[in-house]
């Protein structure tokens, strides 16, 4: 998006603040936000203007729809209204250069008929994709990519995003503002990258989406509603990417991975809110239709013969999902998959997960030996002591397990995990007081 002129500060709206709207209206806003914003961003080549105009339109919509009901085509209503708001804003502004760039084509259309204008505004298939790639551009750092994606495509408020990542709201607001300013001033383009860069840029998009999904899934913040929103949003965007960019097996792999995780959603917490380990989850309550869909997607991806980390992680989740019980799990196969994953992603975290799988295949002592080798590189990672504690417990080394569970408890960030670890600590303490 070119346009390096010095920006004049626009009248700020309470960015992303939610007034009291009915749940139905709120739902429509959330649904349509990404699509409408993307079309506006394409039109004006200015994410700030697009967002301000949309925000103005949402305020008007909130008032009008409360009185008149939700229109048949809310996206069109919002887009048309936002267009008028954009013109209003630009007229109030001082920047002559920008007005020239944006208003000229607009004034040409003021005579055009409504149908033609609607067609102009109708979201092009790749508008949301363009917006997504723009938000995930490598010239923005990862935190900014995540926040901007949630704000622009997910329609989450700044407050919601701040809560999700345990950051103060003004800090998050600044992060998002700076990112948008960088886009504008550094000329980050609004488009799906050309073929030569597509694979690399798609990798970054998938990482951002998986980060968002994991944040929602891992329940590290206290706000349950926001967490669910994150996983839904990540899945939704991943599906859009999958549908619009074919022949990208890693995208399919990521969607499959998310679906496998989702399929166990109902069994992850017990009645008291403690985390339930895989071994104890009631497999009859796993969602078989999600598992079937994930399996099918994995198969589709496999036909392209381009394995990758998300496909492998999905395959591992798939082995668990289709095992009739923890005991009957094909751990040998899981270890083989981890071997391949370690080749592509030779990280300590992968090595740790592999060590646990080896322990299930060969016995806890082998796993513990592997973990000892990589322990230094995982200092401070809360899963390390938890994994060690589990294997020590299985090996009957209860005193050491006790210490490891205590260590894990110091590092844990969420309540369900804490309760689970406390239960285990109690068990091993009874066994070895």
């Amino acid at each position: 998006m070119p346009g390096g002129s010095v920006r004049h500060h626009r009248t700020p709206t309470s960015r992303g603040a939610r007034l009291t709207w009915s749940p139905e209206v709120e739902h429509v806003f959330r649904e349509e936000h990404g699509r409408v914003l993307a079309a506006l961003a394409r039109r004006y080549r200015d994410l700030d203007l697009a967002e301000d105009a949309l925000q103005d339109a949402l305020v008007t919509a909130g008032e009008r729809w409360a009185a008149e009901g939700i229109p048949d085509n809310p996206a069109a209503w919002l887009t048309t209204t936002a267009r008028h708001k954009a013109i209003d804003r630009l007229r109030r502004e001082n920047s002559y250069q920008r007005k020239l760039a944006v208003l000229q084509p607009l004034s040409d259309e003021e005579g055009a008929d409504e149908v033609a204008l609607q067609r102009l505004d109708a979201p092009v298939g790749d508008d949301r994709l363009s917006l997504l790639f723009m938000c995930c551009h490598p010239a923005l750092d990862r935190d900014a990519q995540v926040a901007l994606t949630l704000r622009s495509l997910g329609g989450l408020t700044t407050a919601e995003i701040a809560r999700a990542f345990l950051v103060a709201e003004p800090t998050m607001g600044q992060r998002i503002s700076r990112a948008k300013a960088k886009i504008q001033r550094a000329g980050i383009p609004f488009r799906v990258p050309p073929r030569a860069q597509l694979a690399e840029r798609l990798g970054a998009v998938l990482e951002v989406l998986y980060l968002i999904y994991n944040e929602g899934y891992s329940a590290s913040s206290g706000d349950a509603a926001v967490r669910v929103e994150l996983t839904l949003e990540a899945k939704r965007l991943a599906r859009i990417v999958m549908d619009l960019i074919p022949n990208a097996p890693e995208t399919t792999g990521l969607v499959a991975l998310m679906l496998f995780h989702d399929s166990r959603r109902n069994t992850r917490l017990d009645a008291t809110g403690a985390a339930v380990p895989l071994e104890e989850q009631d497999r009859r309550r796993w969602d078989t239709s999600l598992i079937a869909e994930a399996d099918k997607l994995l198969e589709e991806a496999a036909r392209l013969f381009r394995p990758g980390p998300y496909q492998l992680q999905a395959a591992i989740a798939g082995v668990h999902a289709t095992a009739p019980s923890f005991a009957a799990t094909d751990w040998a196969r899981i270890v083989v998959l981890y071997d391949r994953l370690a080749e592509l992603r030779p990280t300590p975290v992968v090595a740790l997960n592999r060590a646990v799988a080896v322990a299930m295949r060969d016995g806890p002592e082998t796993g513990l030996a592997l973990i000892d080798e990589i322990a230094d590189s995982l200092a401070g990672y809360r899963v390390l002591p938890a994994a060690r504690a589990d294997l020590l417990r299985r090996a009957g080394r209860n005193v050491e397990a006790k210490h490891a569970y205590r260590e894990a408890l110091e590092l844990t960030r969420n309540d369900p995990e804490r309760r689970y670890l406390q239960r285990r600590l109690a068990e091993v303490t009874i066994a070895a007081p």
Partner: protein
Amino acid sequence: MKYALLIYSEPWSGAPPSPEEAEANMAPWYEYTNAMQEAGVMLAGEALADIGTATSVRLRGDEVTTTDGPFAETKEVLTGFYLLDVDTLDDAIAWAAKCPAAVSGTIELRPLVELD
């Protein structure tokens, strides 16, 4: 959009190159500069003489202080620059990646401020 392409690399520390070596060193740069010119994107481009030739000047109050050396002693130093006019940041990034210094140094891209 106009960008400065600022080239940071470690200064040459060995014995001065022979004429043949010097020519071989410069060949990729000639190619690179030609490519930019032919693509019609280059506004300017210069190599900077080595750090030993640098002089730093500061005015504090009334006093001008002149010192020998660059503004900061760093491992990688500014060794040259180009000014480009391209459509998007991605185009500038593509040019930066082709710069002969990119393989061992860092290319910083900064948009030029266009004053109204």
